[in-house]
């Protein structure tokens, strides 16, 4: 392929026309073999997010490596070590915008440490693009991508069936993969699966509609990304959640009660007058004002950073949770959670760590490894330890009480990390099971 083959007039105008747009964070999953780097290069190229000096540098690198024309995958290989070895070592973030929306792509490699990287990329994403090679069909790896997306609370998945040009743009080949994926995904906790037949190399159905697949009547990949739901996560439907991050002390001469409690709203809606409860103490009070540097708000929604004032003079500090009184979070010292183990040393009963949950860090002990979870099926089986890149269910006890939700209900109040006290390495990512009905565990038991 030569640069001239690449269409630049994509109907996606430059970002100049963006005035008020939403932000969609998405994760891409797939290996180099599936054409993931080429797909991202294509999205960036066709949406004019790449610049002449980048094109020139990549064209020069392509020539050096003996490729004809431009190798789109080189746009996303960041570090010298990666380019020299042809590997991707970590999550990389890419940015582009259309007149409708700004996009942040968490680009996760598909090789070694795959689970760790995809869990990281998926943790902040609202949508996952799972890339499948049309020639190879649905693979173990595709199933794994879907499992991790589901486990991490991503409810919108795009199944991008790539390399359609190599299967003669065959509708049958596409349908077979889609059917296999939907059958598998029925056992997962996904809300929408949007299959799109594409050729990242040629550009079919990425930004420009394909003329080679008249049988496909759906949106292009970018067209779908522009329409996908933003801010529709369960977090928004539940009760208000404001983890206290920072306390504004009153100035000299100001009353004690004028303290402001700042944080990023992690769930529900906050309005002046709302009845709230401060957790873990359980003290009830009322929101007097929701403020920002730019003035008071009548209503705040996630993920806005705000400062609230309370009706009563309470002892509230960093790490406390201000929650809707009608729908408070559960207070506990004992957690059961699905973890992705990230540390070099395995997870074993008796291990002591620091646990960071919202804005509170406390000491924790790993009481029990309940089970290991097969990342390709989410089936749990008994286990005594977890190694790096393993998924499993553990029981953890904490020194301080925590105000938690199930991860399925709120990704902020339902998540935590474990930190090694000696090395300060982040050794685990945890997703809390529902306190009462253990929804997350039900999923894993399937």
């Amino acid at each position: 392929m030569t640069a001239a083959d690449l269409s630049t007039d994509a109907g996606v105008s430059t970002a100049a026309e963006v005035s008020t747009t939403s932000l969609l964070r998405l994760a891409t999953a797939g290996s180099v073999d599936d054409g993931k780097s080429t797909l991202i290069g294509r999205l960036l190229y066709d949406s004019s997010a790449l610049f002449d000096d980048q094109l020139e540098a990549v064209a020069a690198s392509s020539r050096k490596r003996g490729h004809d024309g431009i190798d789109l995958s080189l746009f996303t290989d960041g570090l010298r070590a990666e380019r020299e070895q042809g590997i991707t070592i970590d999550v990389a973030y890419r940015y582009f915008a259309t007149p409708r929306r700004s996009f942040v792509i968490a680009d996760t490699p598909g090789h070694a440490q795959y689970t760790r990287n995809m869990v990281t990329g998926a943790s902040t994403a609202e949508l996952a693009v799972i890339l499948v090679d049309a020639q190879g069909g649905l693979t173990e790896q595709s199933r794994r991508h879907a499992c991790v997306a589901s486990l991490l609370g991503i409810r919108q998945v795009v199944l991008a069936v790539n390399k359609m040009d190599l299967v003669g743009f065959s509708e049958t080949a596409f349908d077979e993969i889609v059917d296999a994926f939907l059958t598998f995904a029925a056992g997962l906790d996904l809300r929408t699966v949007t299959p799109v037949p594409i050729s990242a190399l040629l550009g079919d159905n990425v930004v420009e509609p394909s003329t080679a697949m008249p049988w496909y009547g759906g949106p292009t990949l970018l067209g779908h990304l522009e329409q996908a739901a933003v801010g529709a996560a369960p977090d928004r439907q539940g009760g208000a959640r404001l983890p206290v991050q920072w306390v504004h002390r009153p100035g000299p001469g100001q009353p004690r009660g004028s303290r402001g409690y700042s944080g990023m709203l992690a769930g529900g809606v906050l309005r002046p007058g709302d009845e709230v409860v401060v957790l873990p103490s359980g003290t009830r009070t009322r929101i007097v004002a929701v403020e920002t540097f730019d003035g008071p708000l009548e209503e705040a929604t996630p993920p806005r950073s705000v400062t609230v004032r309370l009706a009563d003079d309470l002892d509230v500090g960093r790490g406390d949770l201000i929650a809707a009184a009608a729908a408070p979070a559960a207070v506990t010292r004992d957690l059961e959670a699905v973890v992705c183990w990230l540390g070099d040393r395995p997870a074993q009963p008796g291990g002591r760590y620091l646990l960071k949950h919202t804005t509170r860090t406390t000491r924790a002990v790993l009481r029990e490894v309940v089970s290991a979870i097969d990342v390709n099926s989410l089936v749990a089986s008994p286990a005594a330890a977890l190694a790096a890149n393993d998924l499993g269910v553990v029981k953890v006890s904490t020194a301080d009480a925590l105000a938690v939700d199930a991860y399925a209900d709120n990704r902020t109040t339902g998540s935590f990390i474990l930190i090694d006290e000696a090395t300060h390495a982040t050794v685990a990512a945890g997703m809390i099971a529902a306190a009462a009905d253990a929804e997350v565990l039900d999923l894993t038991a399937r």
Binding site: A16, V18, G231, E298, P303, L342, T359, H424, A429
Partner: protein, 307 residues
């Protein structure tokens, strides 16, 4: 939504989301680290950082000082702007000087007219050690460079100030791990997810003042390395170069010896936004000689402790 709220739509505008998250990062750093410092160059990204710090901590004072690494080759209008802006805010300014580091024998003077860009790293690390800072808040963005695309929002530095891309801490959700031992520090990048265009839109939305050289003006320049380099005391015209007066502006602000101007008629923020949106060159590719030495120039400097 209830009767006509003053603000707060159900889905936030993308600039609101970026702002809110950056404010969150600033508060996390201030709450979790003992001695943070905010790095302020006078450039547009760090001007945005100061506004975000106001949003995070006003009516209180900033819980950290502001520090400038002065190469001694800075644009005079940027230094004047720096002093004025910090004075308006009533915050503490620390100036760590590369010239001072040269005078003390900490680093060698590369000679007149040579770039002092790499010396900034040694000067910064010296200031970090002297003041025992455990967090440096900077305005770097992931869209700037291939190496930065892989950087964490809270990025760990060992006791030698080095960045090891292979041993970065996994960063999940908004759970930032800022744990450091004495001598180590983190770099915090609240603008990680912002693009150049986002920064300009925010400058416009917030009505932020920037150093005048970001807007079109007449300046005597020479064409060098496919850039327009201002002729001045630190960057004299070389033999064979002909100084000419051109209408230019700067897309980035750094050391005079390695920062180039671009031909531009953009005199307002709106002009600049229109120009940036249709530009066919990245801001670093267009204006920073230091990033054009090799495919991995930024990666190498970052490993040494660069911003």
């Amino acid at each position: 939504m209830s009767a006509a709220p003053a603000s707060g739509p159900a889905v936030l505008d993308h600039l609101d989301v970026l702002e809110s998250h950056a404010v969150f990062v600033l508060r996390e750093v201030a709450a979790e680290l003992e001695r943070p410092v905010l790095l302020f160059s006078g450039g547009k990204d760090s001007v945005v950082l100061l506004r975000l710090a106001e949003k995070a901590f006003r009516p209180g004072r900033f819980p950290f000082p502001v520090m400038h690494i002065d190469t001694g080759h800075n644009f005079p209008e940027v230094l004047a702007f720096r002093d004025k802006r910090v004075a308006e805010l009533g915050e503490e300014l620390i100036v760590a000087s590369v010239q001072d580091a040269i005078d003390r024998g900490l680093v060698a003077d590369p000679g007149p007219g040579a770039s002092r860009n790499r010396l900034q790293s040694a000067t910064l690390l010296d200031a970090v050690a002297t003041h025992r800072f455990d967090a440096c808040i900077g305005g770097a963005r992931r869209d700037e460079d291939k190496a930065r695309a892989k950087e964490r929002i809270l990025s760990f530095r060992d006791e030698f100030g080095q960045w090891d891309p292979r041993r970065q801490r996994p960063e999940l959700w908004q759970l930032y791990n800022g744990r450091v031992k004495p001598g180590e520090h983190v770099r915090a990048f609240p603008l990680s997810d912002w693009t150049e265009l986002d920064v300009w839109r925010y400058v416009e939305r917030e009505g932020l003042e920037l150093p005048s050289l970001y807007y079109s003006h007449r300046r005597t320049v020479v064409a060098r390395d496919r850039m327009l380099v201002a002729v001045g005391p630190f960057t004299p015209a070389r033999p064979g170069e002909e100084p000419v007066e051109r209408v230019v502006r700067y897309r980035t602000v750094g050391d005079m010896t390695c920062t180039g101007a671009v031909a531009s008629e953009a005199t307002t923020v709106a002009d600049v936004i229109a120009e940036v949106a249709t530009s066919r060159l990245t801001e670093r590719g267009a204006t920073r000689a230091d990033d054009r030495f090799s495919e991995a120039a930024m990666e190498d400097r970052k490993r040494e402790g660069y911003f």
